[in-house]
Point group: C2
Chain length 404, copies 2
């Protein structure tokens, strides 16, 4: 008799964004006349950059002729993309990352979820609270999280609260974790980490042999020149960190799907290079990112592509400003939105997150994400994203101001 992975049955409810989408769809079905504005999921709304479009058209044409047709690509991505990544995202910042340390994939969500496979089930895992649910759920599925308690916490995870009180900067945990998930600029709080803060984590991981899983998917939204864009700007990080990057937010690739993960060869545990483990995982259970998509991603790194993508990011960051200032005007306590496309706001009068989510959905037809969905310390907050249309974003903010 086949036995299921019972860890799955411990997961409470559905994946956060499936649940918010379900509630929004149910409201829409009951209220066909209402104009719903979605500032919930962090999903691009602006068209791809013209350089990306051109590169993908050319790549589609490549697939139409025998001489230029592409079958299976290199397991970890085409050189033309990996070279551009190494040069622009690392060498240009004074960081030397080898081309065999970069693994192109279909998404940072996949990589963040799958990376756990190269680690033993026995590792103790630390996560920020609130946190991107994939880190927690994927560890729960693997059996590293223990049991889900009535307090909304997994029994075997180490939670690092990030609240207004500590400026959304996690403190070193009292119990030493083996694996530490960090995400800066942060999803969902919008907080960025300074060089000093990251150095504290790298030193801590080095001392304890921990591995930092660093999600840098939002680095393109950093505006402060002092904030590091990659953890590898910190000395010693190559010996203790893996970095996840995505084109989803950098270039609007949420529906186009391309990302990459950096596993330095200097990262060794129990005498084994984690780079070789990830290479084996990916070559065995993944068959590469579409050629057409990789061509599109490479176009982001051309001079023209950079200008075009910057324009899109500026557009979104203007939305962030509108939301930030509007919510302050509405009387809410507001965080983020300066070095990140996320605005994290306290609910009025300590209202529970899901209640405020439902209130905004039902009363002003604005979809947000309840902070509690990101973990216990997210209770009493909601997240809004800057990825909407600018007119719709303005309207949503005005509706909220009027309501509150």
């Amino acid at each position: 008799m086949a036995k299921i992975n019972r860890n799955f049955t411990k997961l409470p409810g559905s994946y956060l964004f499936s649940e918010t989408a379900r509630r929004a769809a149910a409201f829409a079905a009951k209220n066909p006349g209402k104009k719903i504005i979605k500032l919930g999921i962090g999903d691009a709304t602006q068209p791809l950059a013209p350089s990306v479009i051109k590169a993908m058209h050319d790549a589609v044409d490549d697939m139409a002729a025998k001489e230029t047709f592409k079958g299976y690509g290199p397991d970890f991505g085409y050189d033309f993309l990996i070279d551009a990544i190494a040069k622009n995202d690392y060498a240009a910042r004074g960081v030397d990352i080898g081309i065999d340390e970069i693994f192109v994939s279909d998404g940072a969500k996949s990589d963040c979820g799958n990376i756990g496979e190269i680690f033993s089930v026995d590792n103790r895992v630390a996560v920020c609270d609130p946190v991107y649910p994939v880190y927690v759920d994927s560890n729960a599925m693997a059996g590293r999280a223990g049991d889900f308690g009535a307090d909304g916490r997994w029994s075997n995870l180490i939670y690092m609260p990030c609240t207004a009180e500590n400026g959304f900067a996690p403190e070193l945990p009292s119990e030493v974790p083996d694996i530490i998930y960090l995400c800066f600029p942060n999803n969902p709080t919008g907080a960025a980490a300074t060089k000093e803060q990251l150095k504290m984590w790298v030193d801590y991981a080095a001392k304890n042999g921990s591995v930092i899983l660093y999600d840098s998917a939002y680095e393109a939204y950093i505006t402060d020149p002092e904030i590091p864009h990659t953890i590898f700007e910190i000395e010693g990080a190559k010996e203790c960190a893996i970095e996840f990057r995505s084109f989803s937010k950098t270039a609007g690739f949420t529906g186009t799907r391309c990302a990459y993960t950096v596993v330095p060869k200097a990262l060794v545990r129990e005498g084994v290079q984690l780079n070789s483990l990830w290479a084996r995982r990916q070559s065995t259970k993944f068959n590469g990112t579409p050629y057409i998509v990789q061509r599109g991603a490479a176009a982001i790194y051309t001079e023209q592509g950079k200008i075009e993508c910057r324009k899109i990011i500026d557009y979104y960051m203007n939305n962030a400003k509108v939301i930030r200032e509007g919510l302050i005007k509405a009387g809410l306590e507001v965080f983020g939105g300066v070095n990140a496309p996320y605005i994290w706001a306290k609910t009025p009068n300590g209202m529970p997150s899901w209640d405020f989510f439902d209130m905004l959905l039902n009363k002003v037809n604005v979809v947000t994400t309840p902070g509690a969905g990101f973990g216990p310390s997210g209770e009493g907050y909601i997240r809004l994203t800057a990825f909407g249309d600018s007119e719709a974003t303005k309207e949503a903010v005005e509706r909220i101001i009027k309501l509150l």
Copy 2:
């Protein structure tokens, strides 16, 4: 101190196709003047169908305008593609598969590799021998395979030999497995399964509560009208089987990346629908297949797309005939190549597979795949694929005839 997944360190050598590619590249580097013909990896070489190209150009244009831009798609694929799959691949064969039983993904390799996550590590797994390495390696990584022995067998896997003696049809194992991997038309042997043979497996799984993981990636190559294209043509299969399908070979999508997996809702173990487990796995650790690619895949199901794809398949199956007849002429004992794009041949005089692989590479510059790479019972065989260019395939076959 972070601990690695030590199951990875039990894996012998590298992934099979990485190793054959490495040897071919090393030979090419040393012999720059030689024209190497690759009949090793099952990789498409013919351009995508014009209907697919047109659909992808249109989809790229959709991404260029705000009104038609697509961000995150539905977790499990767009309705336009899922509907086409349900209608053409199932309803047209009298099989009723619901749209919520179909999960679109980036590849059958990913799905075959990741499906293990929904099962307990404790399951006993049966595989055909020889076998597509992903089934074995992914189970080894998960800790289900035990230890790799000097005899080339994993201590905890149940091997079902498929040899010339049993017509490459696995027999029911003496020890009852919980999970059974079957692949028909078979990779690597090219054998197809009759309705009666599949019924034997479905009845066996039903009786024992086993789950069949059925890889049907090559169904488009079936020429015999009596051979089932899907395991769900067999009564009772919905209660015991998951089916993997791919556009890689059906429509040359090896570098374009699209596939799907069918998990019937009737498949229940320990009181849980496996459909809900896979839905949870995919929504947590995968973010969908590119919109552009899904549009291309949907075009395969148009009337014109079907005609064009059939033409490509016929082209490859003509190669299969050329290889099959040529190798017979060369004096080899040959199997497959009738309902499958793979030709499975006995090496001359019982020569070891890797020796024959090296001999063909070094003497006539033809890349094949050594049968031993697919498992112990593959020793003494090599696999050739029909996916080459037709002229190059003819030349390769002539070179082999001349050599032998």
